[in-house]
């Protein structure tokens, strides 16, 4: 067990560093799209929500899972779609 948690913490720390490195420099034009795009990725909690909604240990946990799936899906779908809409707008502006 202790090795497991160490492995998870290692993954966590490495991912944080990758996150810092990947977007060290962002042009201001992309501040909003980056924010809403990464916001959509934070909807990854959908994974946990699906497991809770699908395992159905108790009615209570299934309902909590259902609401969690709805919330996370709003986050994911809304986030990616609104980012796409915004970015298409930028392209349109450039083409002029």
């Amino acid at each position: 067990m202790p090795t497991d948690i160490i492995a998870l913490i290692t993954i966590f720390v490495m991912a944080v560093f990758i996150g810092f490195e990947v977007i060290a420099k962002v042009p201001p034009t992309l501040h909003t799209p980056l924010m809403s795009g990464s916001n959509a990725i934070s909807g990854i909690t959908i994974i946990g929500a699906i497991i809770s909604a699908g395992t159905q240990h108790t009615t209570l946990t299934a309902i909590l899972g259902l609401v969690a799936v709805v919330f996370a899906m709003i986050n994911v779908v809304g986030g990616f779609m609104v980012t796409d809409r915004m970015l298409k707008m930028f392209q349109k502006g450039k083409g002029k």
Partner: protein
């Protein structure tokens, strides 16, 4: 050995192997999804690759979702399908209907849903594990659950307050609760005590909901005292929190996909938060906990403005513009409020048709979210290569004939260069160095920092009082008449 027992043990072992393979495939899928998220985020930080980056990210999410559906523990797909359909419909509806001027509150709201989802997942897992005797909750799980509850609760309600402020349901001004530091610290301590109690006795699941309630109140009290102009920091910080809540939920489930994606988002949010803080020359703690107010001994508005403010008309501005070669437009939150982005473009088109160079000076914290002005002007089809960053455009102001400031105040206030006032040291747009500055503003009322702006009393400065959109329309009309 009895043959049937032997058979059973063989079947059993193949069953175990099958589950092992299944789990391996799921985890490898999460790895693929994580790589796609990294490429997606990388793409989102480059103008040319941004659209593709967003698609790569969403494809990663699709893979993660499909992989999760393969979990052997999932016995029923009813709730999953219903939840996904309902959530997708609401999300798509919001994304397609939202006006570009409402983008800050949209991002805030979506962010809140992510945080809320993490809270519910962690709660559900805690309840499940307290009911089974085969897999009692480990300390890793309970600690992560409490973290998820705290960060998720703060994110959910903090985002709702931010949404309320941006959408105008809650006062945009910083609302000062008496003894708020004491209240915040007390709420924080209560949350820590509750967390320890949950870790010591995970079977008391009701404590988790108390913890979520306390964290939710904390989310409200922390956010409500932060004023509208600091929203770019708050929004990007909450964005970071929603990632951290997701990563914490990943530790609850020992799920690498969640941990990686959550921490990527957490890191990217922190970077944006830092950029915003640097742009205001304030520390994060300062933005979060202190309230800007008039500094002691600061000059009063009467001292600064008395007899020196010159008011102008749209016709006079049109004449000035006709004689100009280079014009810089400085948009601020006032532009978003009066939704005048299309009129700005029309004005720029007229000027450009007459051979006048028009550029836009973008202050990093102008507006209510990071990059707010860029989104607004892009909606009006203004090419993004004309939106110039502060550091690049500042040296060009001495060669600029006319600067038009629309609804911005603190980001062009020259007292930022002096000591001893609330915005001391904040990088500003050096518009006062241009030949003429036109300030389109409703009144001389101070900006968020609450201090008078000597720019308005400067010799080269003219005030065009009125609503941004109306003033621009009058200028356009005057230019057309003059032609």
């Amino acid at each position: 050995m009895n043959s049937s027992l032997l058979l059973a043990s063989i079947v059993g072992s193949t069953g175990v192997a099958e589950n092992g393979i299944r789990e391996m495939v799921i985890n490898l899928s999460y790895l693929v999804a994580s790589i796609l998220f990294i490429f997606g985020l990388k793409g989102l930080s480059h103008p040319r690759k941004a659209v593709r980056g967003n698609w790569i990210g969403s494809f990663g999410m699709l893979i993660a979702i499909i992989a999760t559906l393969a979990y052997k523990e999932i016995v029923s797909f009813e709730y999953i399908i219903i939840g996904m359909l309902v959530g997708s419909a609401i999300g798509a509806f919001l994304a397609l209907k939202v006006k570009m001027t409402s983008m800050p509150e949209m991002v805030g709201l979506l962010n809140g849903f992510g945080g809320g989802s993490s809270v519910l997942v962690a709660g559900a897992v805690l309840i499940e594990s307290s009911l089974t005797t085969t897999a009692p909750p480990t300390m890793q799980m309970t600690i992560a659950t409490t973290l998820s509850g705290i960060v998720g609760g703060v994110t959910f309600f903090g985002s709702l307050i931010a949404f309320g402020k941006l959408a105008g349901y809650v006062s945009e001004k910083s609302i000062i609760i008496p003894a708020r530091h004491f209240i915040n610290i007390t709420l924080g301590l209560v949350a820590i005590v509750l967390s320890i109690m949950i870790v010591l006795d995970p079977s008391r699941t009701e404590l988790y909901w108390y913890l979520v309630a306390v964290s939710s109140i904390l989310g409200v009290t922390l956010t409500i005292s932060i004023g509208g102009a600091d929203m770019p920091v708050v929004i990007s910080l909450l964005n970071s929190y929603s990632g951290i809540a997701g990563a914490a939920t990943g530790f609850v489930l020992s799920n690498t996909g969640l941990i990686i994606a959550g921490s990527l988002v957490g890191a990217s949010g922190i970077i944006l938060t830092r950029i915003m803080c640097v742009a205001m020359n304030r520390s994060l703690l300062n933005v979060m906990f202190s309230v800007l107010g008039p500094a002691e001994g600061a000059k009063s508005a009467d001292d600064v403005y008395a007899g020196k403010v010159k008011s102008t008309s749209a016709e006079e501005v049109a004449m000035l513009l006709e004689g100009a070669r280079r014009v810089v437009i400085v948009p601020g939150y006032g532009l978003a409020v009066s939704q005048a982005q299309h009129q700005v473009r029309d004005l720029a088109n007229i000027l450009e048709a007459r051979g006048i160079t028009v550029e836009y000076a973008i202050h990093p914290v102008a507006g209510r979210m990071p990059g707010h002005m860029n989104v607004l002007l892009a909606e009006a089809n203004i090419p993004y290569d004309k939106l110039i960053e502060m550091d690049v455009i500042n040296p060009t102001f001495p060669e600029t004939d006319v600067v038009i400031v629309i609804g911005a105040n603190d980001v062009v206030n020259p007292v930022a260069r002096e000591e001893g006032n609330p915005i001391s040291g904040m990088p500003i747009l050096d518009v006062d160095k241009a030949r003429t500055v036109i300030n389109i503003k409703r009144s001389l009322s101070p900006g968020f920092a609450g201090i008078p702006n000597p720019l308005y009393a400067a010799d080269n400065s003219l005030m065009l009082f009125g609503d941004g959109k109306k003033a621009l329309l009058e200028m356009i009309a005057a230019l057309k008449e003059g032609a």
